[in-house]
Symmetry: C2
Subunit: 476 residues, 2 copies
């Protein structure tokens, strides 16, 4: 497709080209904001529904909180306001009048939710509170990029309150696992779970955990975070409960979020020079039927067969589209490749005569991905193919990532490694170390992976003995 | 329940009591805003999912647009800005700096969506554009009331663009029908479809249609609107297409919306002095199992049977809850009545011995609603019961409404009728007439119903001959 820049030539341009040409999103006439078009939003809805199911299966309920937060609320937690106040959008006028207290458009909702939890939680019987909200938040970003960093972005934010730190810690890890499972099993994106270094923690958290993925240009994308907020917000908002022993205690809270960045990850992990390659579980259209004919009499027979295949696939729960546009097959092939539809069903006059179709796989280009199969049993065959494509995409992404992580033991090795992938390097969890490496290599400390080979190393910067290694990479 | 004011004593207090006690929503610490709690949000999600299905079945797709609208956009359509500018919340500061152009938080999105459609629509091949968005909007209201009128409220807004007025008019009516069907078939709320009078039109529309419902206090609630925007927004935003005849033409656009007001309607149409009564199709919990026992040995046997019933009902797709709290059965009965759960399943030691349960219907109070049935075939029996309750609630509401609409032919009759219901009165579609009646009776022109008995009357105010009658009532 001439429309797309090639990935090797300019990955960043390729990304923008794919978003535009595959009709995922468009720029809005508001600084740093995008409009998500129907095809992109349908993909987001599919991802959202899977994640929402996982939240509900782990005992969470959805609720809705206001988009406005009184400025005084943000000021109650010192680290929090420090982190977020430079990025706020502020409403100063309402109903034609200057507001006495300006309202921030939420950059995240710990404060207003903390305030509500303080009203709702009275006794140990009220705990845990396990609530999630799907919404959009606003952070005034200097440099924006569709899905990855926008002024307004859609996400979900979970907020929970617990009686003990043991329970809240379990929750933090449970939700990190939920995110990792969603990324792996539904988005076919392998991720590394880890603890954020001190310098990369959420503003107001005692510790932050994240999942980190490698994009097609070997850069890192933080794809979700889960925060242990300790008692910081409980203290700031007075979230207390009367325990069984009749004494009043502060709650322990958590928060966790995944945004439409994950959609950006799906684009950048799987896409190729022909466009998107979507995992079948989340693809808005899982299979497209392209009828092939030369004249009107061929057309009639082919369309009849195509209609019948469409009905069969649809009734088997496949999200299928019959492309009956007045365009050439070549145009249609390119168009659906661009949009990443996992399976293409081609049917021509010979297929009609033979009771066959040609199947094309988006994940395996050209002839290697093509097979000729009977129309009988097609739905089952395609459903099986979806599973193969789903796991094939995950395998490709995992191989690519693993081939591009280097274990290093010196600063020189790290410098070289992060030019073309991730480095796993022993370092102290020290903001000064993170800062120096970032300054000198442009790579950041992505996380200390939870899975560590036990051992003792020397910090590549300070030379001090350390027991953990961190993942470094250039990041979005 | 002592917790609730009785409906006859003070309907308005009763409404607030139910919302609080049934855990639907709470007041937010932001002027005129509410927090929707998990039980309330689950109800809203169920309603939303049904409506969303109906939108998709009529060919619409969802998309997402920014919450911010440049002030200059609102100014482009003269009537629109006149209607909305007094109610705007305005962001004047972003990222610590005064914005050059302030941003309105969307009160509705015709303008920014119009701007986008102008980019997307080039040719007749691009039409129609059929898009919906689920979001929240902000209007700075003076007097607020949970779900009925809040500063921020959740809704959906559909926006479509068409080649001809014939097609856009069809769309306006199609969506009005979708709303009426959703209200009737899922919310069990009978509605009257009608055309809004000139004075009640949406700001910027050529004509507005609405569905109107009667609440339990005989007041009206406008439950959804569908607008024929003519070419007003197409002209303001330059939404043009190249037609088959190679000439450039302006599009015809529509917009239509239903908000969480409909949830308020469900509360006010069906609720009684014991609390909510929820239609089974949208109830977050459709059936609750209450185990009854006196001692530990009874408890063991009863809980075992209750667990097994729970599993059976759940596997039959019923949204069921087993209430195993350490509370008395009486407490639990009241609690689930308050929350409007349609069916109660009671099981005690004698039921365990006999293989029976007692079923209670929320829509039929006391003994009349109670039946003793075998455990065998319970899921099917309850599923049938849901259908009976669903249609029973609709029937009750329809009877109540129809008994409280009076056909009038003089102003004096109207004055009397609107003190205790709706009046159907012949009037001219004249803002002066609407204004006088509102001023003198507090009743407003709800709509000119689409279903009219053909005839000729005299306007009850001006005496001029008219061919339509309008529905008047005091309204929320």
């Amino acid at each position: 497709m001439a429309k797309l820049t090639s990935r090797t030539q300019d990955f960043s341009e390729w990304y923008l080209d794919v978003i535009r040409e595959a009709d995922l999103a468009d720029y809005a006439p508001v600084r740093g904001c995008i409009v998500v078009k129907p095809y992109g939003w349908s993909l987001y809805e599919n991802m959202r529904d899977f994640l929402d199911r996982r939240f509900k299966d782990t005992g969470h309920s959805n609720a809705a909180f206001p988009m406005f937060i009184p400025m005084s609320f943000l000021n109650r937690e010192a680290q929090h306001v420090k982190g977020f106040s430079p990025e706020l959008a502020v409403v100063t006028v309402g109903g034609g009048e200057q507001l006495e207290e300006p309202l921030a458009v939420r950059p995240t909702s710990e404060t207003i939710i903390g305030y509500m939890y303080a009203q709702w939680v009275k006794s140990y019987r009220d705990l845990p509170v396990l609530i999630n909200a799907w919404n959009s938040v606003v952070r005034w970003e200097k440099r924006t990029r569709p899905f990855l960093r926008t002024t307004e972005f859609f996400w979900q934010e979970g907020h929970t309150a617990h009686a003990t730190h043991e329970e809240s810690s379990e929750e933090v890890m449970r939700m990190l696992d939920v995110y990792a499972a969603h990324a792996r099993d539904e988005c076919a994106v392998p991720v590394i779970k880890g603890r954020k270094s001190i310098s990369e923690r959420f503003a107001g958290a005692d510790s932050t955990y994240s999942i980190e993925a490698m994009m097609g240009d070997k850069k890192a994308l933080q794809s979700a975070t889960s925060h242990d907020l300790g008692q910081n917000f409980a203290r700031a908002f007075d979230i207390k409960y009367l325990d069984r022993d009749n004494t009043e205690k502060l709650c322990w809270t958590t928060s966790w979020g995944m945004s439409w960045r994950m959609l950006g990850a799906v684009i950048m992990v799987h896409g190729d020079d022909q466009g998107l390659r979507l995992p079948p579980r989340i693809a808005p259209i899982q299979a497209v039927i392209v009828p092939i004919y030369k004249n009107e009499s061929e057309r009639t027979a082919v369309m009849q067969a195509a209609d019948s295949i469409f009905t069969t696939l649809k009734s088997n729960g496949i999200r299928v589209k019959l492309d009956d546009r007045d365009e050439t097959p070549g145009f249609k092939f390119n168009d659906w490749e661009l949009r990443g539809v996992p399976v293409r069903v081609e049917i021509g006059p010979r297929d009609v005569a033979n009771g066959t179709v040609a199947l094309g796989r988006r994940d395996v280009p050209g002839k290697a991905g093509k097979s000729f199969v009977p129309q009988a049993g097609l739905a089952e065959r395609i459903t099986t193919l979806f599973e193969e494509i789903q796991s094939g995409l995950l395998q490709q992404a995992t191989n690519f990532r693993d081939a591009n992580i280097r274990e290093v033991s010196t600063y020189a090795e790290l410098k070289e490694a992060v030019e073309d992938g991730f480095a796993l390097a022993p370092v102290a969890d020290d903001p000064a170390v993170d800062a120096q490496i970032k300054e000198e290599t442009k790579a950041t400390n992505r996380c200390f992976p939870l899975e560590q080979v036990p051992g003792e190393w020397k910090c590549i910067v300070t030379g001090k003995p350390v027991r953990e290694r961190a993942l470094f990479g250039k990041a979005y």
